[in-house]
């Protein structure tokens, strides 16, 4: 450990860190101690090219760049002195020399570090009358990114990102001095599974994603914390919300989960929230075999009536429940209680599997496979065989991963069942065989906890309201339990109360609930 004094306050910092790294470790960088910077990024190698992070270090005749000056025990640093202020003004003036004054038409405006720092640390007037560099505009760098060469301040974050994180290295700086430009090599595209992160780390409007650019001004967005539910990694994100609509995901830093990155596939899953194929209307299949939209309460009553009639004829032994691993811990716990109370012995969890890599993308394409296993749900493979073989007459399905080729490979085998009750967020082939359909909420529409592949419990918040009637799976099952008159079910669903009883259901959850999980998540007992 080393003692480091910054602006008169003494801190203990780890050995071998640079000044900016030490400030970042302390959580103080731009959050108590302002050392503006462009090229330095906590998850990339040090470049030292932007020169904006200069600070005064006692004993050094000249100002030092905070990003690349190692902390020495007893070091005394000043970040607010006149010399530092003067140096920042000088650097900002150089960075702005060739930057176009196109903020009004630039999509980065509002979240642009050049704008912010020019306002905060810059001089108010340009002293040059020479023409600015005229370079390429609106360049298609690849399938996801647009590039404006004139706005680039050559911090090289994108270049380093491509080399160091996906290790594809599509971008480089060509030429020298004031001829320097960032480009791809001719014939090569910026095309890798993490390409859109370059737009997040670009401090200016040089790199923007084709998906988000010009959709909405960022100052209209509320950046609400949440998690990506595209796979079992559970990357932390901010959901950009306005007008009760999610416009984008941007990665939210969590050093235990996703650092500061997210894969392109996961980033685009925000589209699922407001997708046109959301399941919107509760429905019941009529005697003539047609699905009819009915009020939610009627659909619940119809589901209860069908189940009751089946159980009277054949007993609860012919019932099964299959939950997809999209269901949250709270939803699954209520389902488990329902199964117990009703005496349903057949149950399991379905997880769609796909590609994975060694960075973020995990094979299990759902947020809560690990949570389901922790709560005692078994892999539904054998149960799917049993259903296909005709051993089951009534089925409650949460989500439609049961249709995946790994399980049933389609809905046809379900057509012969007496009762199929579907709780789902999106339209699927299940609707062709369902007798009762109950729309449920997406993770971004509810309080819920999920366990990622590494056993880290994370949570979602309700950041948008569905424009149609839908409830959390747990609430729907609670109401179904009450309609069936099951002991312990009064139709009420208090997600906080359910969350607090997770620890009683599975020891690994002890001491963990919605409130304690927080924005960064906490590991299950024994997974720390």
């Amino acid at each position: 450990m080393a003692k480091l004094t910054i602006d008169g306050v003494e801190y203990e910092v780890k050995d071998g860190r640079t000044i900016l790294q030490a400030l970042d470790d302390l959580g103080l960088l731009m959050n108590g101690v302002d050392v503006p910077h462009y090229c330095w990024h906590p998850k990339l190698t040090i470049d030292g090219s932007c020169r904006l992070c200069q600070v005064e270090v006692e004993g050094f005749p000249k100002l030092q760049i905070g990003c690349n000056t190692p902390v020495k025990d007893g070091m005394v640093v000043h970040t607010k002195s006149e010399r530092v202020k003067h140096a920042r003004e000088g650097v900002m003036e150089f960075l702005l020399l060739n930057h176009p004054l196109d903020c009004p038409i630039c999509d980065q405006a509002g979240e642009c570090k050049l704008q912010d720092y020019a306002f905060e640390y810059g001089v108010k007037h340009a002293r040059t009358e020479e023409p600015r560099r005229a370079l390429k505009k609106n360049v298609d760098l690849g399938p996801t990114i647009k590039f404006d060469q004139e706005r680039c301040i050559l911090c090289r974050r994108c270049v380093r990102f491509c080399r160091e994180v996906p290790k594809t290295g599509e971008l480089a700086v060509f030429n020298r001095g004031d001829h320097s430009v960032i480009e791809t090599v001719p014939g090569m595209q910026l095309d890798n599974p993490y390409s859109m992160n370059v737009a997040d780390i670009c401090p200016v409007g040089a790199l923007t994603t084709k998906d988000f650019r010009f959709k909405i001004r960022v100052w209209f967005l509320e950046e609400a914390p949440g998690i990506c539910t595209g796979c079992s990694n559970g990357c932390n994100v901010y959901l950009g919300v306005a007008n009760n609509k999610v416009y984008r995901y941007v990665p939210r830093r969590n050093d235990s989960v996703n650092d500061t990155w997210i894969c392109d596939v996961g980033r685009m899953t925000y589209e699922e929230i407001g997708a046109p194929d959301r399941l919107k209307l509760p429905a019941v299949r009529s005697d003539s075999g047609v699905l009819e939209a009915v009020p939610f309460a009627k659909a619940i009553d119809a589901a209860a009536a069908r189940l009751r009639s089946l159980v009277e004829r054949k007993g609860a032994g012919v019932l099964a429940a299959v939950a997809s691993a999209h269901a949250s811990n709270e939803d699954l716990l209520v389902l488990a209680r329902f199964l117990d109370a009703y005496g349903i012995r057949h149950s399991g969890v379905t997880v769609r599997r796909g590609d994975s890599d060694d960075l973020l993308v995990k094979a299990e394409k759902a947020a809560n496979a690990e949570g389901a296993r922790t709560l005692g749900f078994e892999e539904a493979g054998p149960l799917a065989k049993q259903i296909a073989g005709g051993g089951i007459d009534g089925l409650i399905v949460l989500g439609h991963d049961l249709l995946d080729p790994a399980y049933l490979g389609g809905e046809r085998t379900l057509a012969k069942l007496d009762t199929v009750i579907v709780l789902d967020t999106h339209v699927s082939a299940l609707e062709r065989v369902a007798h009762v359909i109950l729309p449920v909420r997406h993770a971004a529409e509810k309080d819920a906890t999920y366990v990622n592949h590494a056993g880290r419990v994370q949570r979602s918040w309700p950041v948008v309201e569905p424009s149609f009637e839908a409830y959390a799976d747990g609430e729907v099952i609670s109401r179904l339990g009450a309609a069936l008159g099951l002991p312990g079910f009064d139709g009420k669903f208090d997600v906080r109360e359910v969350s607090r009883s997770l620890g009683a259901a599975a020891a690994a959850f002890r001491g963990i609930d919605l409130e304690s999980v927080g924005e960064q998540g906490i590991p299950l007992a024994g997974k720390g």
């Binding site: 290295g169 480089a172 700086v173 030429n175 020298r176 090599v185």
Partner: protein, 155 residues
């Protein structure tokens, strides 16, 4: 293959001199360019393969330095210094005159592939301004007539 086996051997020997083999990249580029005249995309790929790096890294270095070329060059390089002392002594007029004489602009190569004309920021011969460099040879204290004569004698 653009790079000869002999050159490859030499490059490997250079790589052994540096703690990180990449340190030998400049030496390798000089070696290869001496044989090939310029570093094409194909050549960059071969060098990158030798070093186990991405060809884009090679092109970064090639475009950074003035004396590496990513396009075919003339048989002779004529570089006119246009930095301050040379300019004060008429280097810009000299360059204009040579452009007119050769019928090309600085940065271009004559149609017959004889001369590539370029301007250089500083060639470190301020005391003898204006001056130009033909390949490895300095010609100093020039006027336009003398410079034209030098160019005309090039094969």
């Amino acid at each position: 293959m653009v790079i000869s086996d002999a050159a490859r051997e030499k490059i490997r020997a250079e790589m052994a001199k540096y703690p990180k083999p990449e340190g030998a990249l400049l030496a390798a580029l000089h070696l290869v360019q001496k044989q090939t005249g310029h570093i094409s995309g194909e050549t960059a790929q071969e060098i990158a393969d030798l070093f186990g790096i991405h060809p884009i890294r090679v092109m970064e270095v090639v475009t950074f330095y003035n004396m590496f070329y990513d396009e075919p060059q003339g048989r002779h390089h004529v570089h006119v210094c246009t930095n301050l002392p040379c300019s004060l002594r008429g280097a810009r007029e000299l360059l204009r005159g040579l452009e007119a004489h050769l019928g090309i602009e600085a940065g271009e190569t004559t149609k017959d592939g004889r001369v590539t004309l370029a301007h250089e920021e500083c060639l470190g011969a301020c005391g003898y301004a204006p001056m130009l460099r033909v390949d490895e040879t300095y010609h100093e204290n020039l006027d336009l007539a003398a410079a034209k004569r030098i160019l005309d004698e090039l094969e």
